[in-house]
């Protein structure tokens, strides 16, 4: 082998080795790796468990993990890759450049069983004097065109779901029907890099909910509180790398990070926010209660509502004659409930999902409705909840 080739080879080897070493040299990597070796020798870990720990540590705590993710996202964009498959999901870049997750086809039976559970909650609500409304929040993928090698049944599932809601005489409002009827452009309702709709969309949706409750049940609400001119919209440009973007890298969609809006009222507010299961009570203005702002420069989707709680109660201290609403929600309601809370005396917000970030036991809604006597019971879920969806754990208490 020629001398130059040997020298080239050595230089490449040294550079690559230095690159690897620099990424794994922090204690946050070395300790878990040596720890897992030790635990395997003592029998505490199996080989598979040790491999998993090493793999998770190397990928998660690598010094330049995010940089490599972004480099890979550029490579994927250049080579025309549109589908990224992860352990827990498949993320697709749609024709418009937004990141979506394709939805599998649900069977009629799966959807019907889900509707039956919703019907039970409606019956329970009405037996306790509460009016009921199901809010159908469209999944982002309904408005996007996936590549031709991807099957996405989001729209078909939703159409079937709405048909079954209607057949079961469940009062509902479909926001996709609302957007269509009012010729609202749907290309700016969702974030590019996240599965959620935007804060601005949540704000509009609150108005739609109030209008529908008023139309169906005579719900009185303050029309000034749903007008944009009565709010400050602070825009953080190129700020939010959403859930999908964090999995695929910043440049998988050339759009980069999303702009993020922090919406706060211009008018005076006085509210109380309670987390009864954590014994936390906060009182103050809108920004100090229903928004969770630790650092005004680092706001995110979770700034609205504070993320996910099993139970959260907000009280509008300036609306003591208002109504009491119980809303059963998923994360799409994060950007709805803060604005809805302005229209109520009390807003009880319940999340029944079995997820690792919600420690508290489920709430039996039959008992909760009986004990708290809300005037309205709402459900706001995105997409279609099928039979085994944990969002429908309305009557468990464990």
């Amino acid at each position: 082998m020629k001398k130059t080739q040997i020298i080239t080879g050595c230089i490449v080897f040294i550079l690559c080795f230095a690159f690897m070493l620099s990424g794994v040299s922090s204690l946050s990597i070395i300790r878990p790796i040596f720890g897992s070796f030790k635990r395997t020798l003592t029998g505490e870990y199996s080989i598979e468990e040790a491999k998993q720990v090493i793999s998770d540590t190397l990928t998660g705590d690598l010094l330049y993990h995010d940089l490599l993710l972004n480099i890979d996202s550029i490579k994927n964009y250049i080579t025309g890759t549109k589908i990224i498959t992860k352990d827990d999901c498949t993320i697709v870049r749609s024709e418009s450049g937004k990141l979506i997750e394709p939805i599998n086809k649900l069977s009629e039976n799966e959807i019907k069983k889900g509707v039956e559970k919703i019907k039970q909650l409606q019956i329970c609500s009405e037996e306790n004097g509460a009016e009921f409304l199901y809010c159908v929040a469209p999944n982002k993928s309904e408005y996007e065109i996936a590549p031709s090698n991807i099957n996405n049944f989001s729209k078909e599932n939703t159409e079937m779901f709405i048909k079954f809601l209607s057949d079961a005489n469940i009062s509902y409002v479909s926001f996709s029907e609302y957007f269509k009827k009012n010729k609202i452009k749907t290309d700016d309702l969702y974030y590019y890099t996240d599965h959620h709709w935007k804060a601005e969309t949540g704000f509009k949706i609150t108005g739609v909910i109030c209008e529908e409750l008023h139309r169906l049940y005579g719900f009185e609400y303050n029309t000034e509180y749903i007008k944009e001119e009565n709010y400050n919209f602070k825009i953080y440009p190129n700020h939010l790398l959403g859930s999908y973007g964090r999995k695929t890298g910043k440049y998988f969609t050339l759009h980069g990070k999303d702009d993020f809006a922090l919406i706060t009222p211009k008018f005076k507010t006085n509210m109380t926010e309670e987390e009864p299961l954590e014994n936390i009570v906060r009182t103050g203005a809108f920004e100090e209660t229903v928004l969770f702002i630790d650092d005004i420069e680092n706001v995110s989707y979770g700034t609205y509502s504070g993320g996910n709680f099993r139970l959260q109660i907000t009280k509008n201290n300036l609306n003591t004659d208002g109504k009491k609403i119980l809303i059963i929600r998923d994360s799409f309601a994060d950007v709805v409930t803060p604005f809805l809370s302005l229209q109520t005396k009390e807003l009880h917000i319940c999340d029944e999902r079995k997820e690792e970030w919600i420690d508290d036991p489920n709430i039996n809604l039959m008992e909760y409705i009986k004990n708290n006597k809300p005037d309205f019971v709402l459900i706001l879920f995105n997409g279609v909840p099928s039979e085994n969806d944990s969002r429908l754990n309305f009557f468990e208490s464990n």
Binding site: V12, D72, T79, N149
Partner: protein
């Protein structure tokens, strides 16, 4: 020569189908699809999508399968500038491979299945 290469590759590819199939029945169905005998069309949305998304890699693979790089390498082996450029190119390829591994958080190696 080309004919020998073609029938060798044909039997290698047919062999891979058997290697990866769960059963002989599924291998047989796969063979039928490969020769258009399973009521499948030559191309559909599924094919078009995957082909479009991998066209750059396919073209790159075709080019790299030819002796082009070997010829270029021979012709440029005495040019120092080329030797110097090879270093960052090889390191870049290493970084891209690592980036791909980190991004996927999963390094599939089928022989571990045995």
């Amino acid at each position: 020569m080309i004919f020998k290469w073609m029938y060798t590759m044909l039997f290698v590819i047919l062999g891979w189908v058997i290697f990866r199939s769960d059963s002989l029945n599924s291998a047989f169905l796969y063979f039928k699809s490969m020769f258009g005998l399973n009521n499948n069309t030559f191309s559909d949305g599924l094919f078009t999508g995957w082909f479009e998304q991998n066209i750059i890699l396919v073209i790159t693979g075709i080019i790299l399968s030819t002796p082009l790089f070997k010829i270029l390498s021979e012709k440029t082996k005495n040019i120092s500038a080329i030797q110097i450029i090879r270093i960052p190119v090889l390191v870049l390829l290493f970084v891209l491979s690592t980036a791909s591994l980190v991004s996927s958080s999963y390094n599939p190696f089928i022989y571990f299945n045995f």
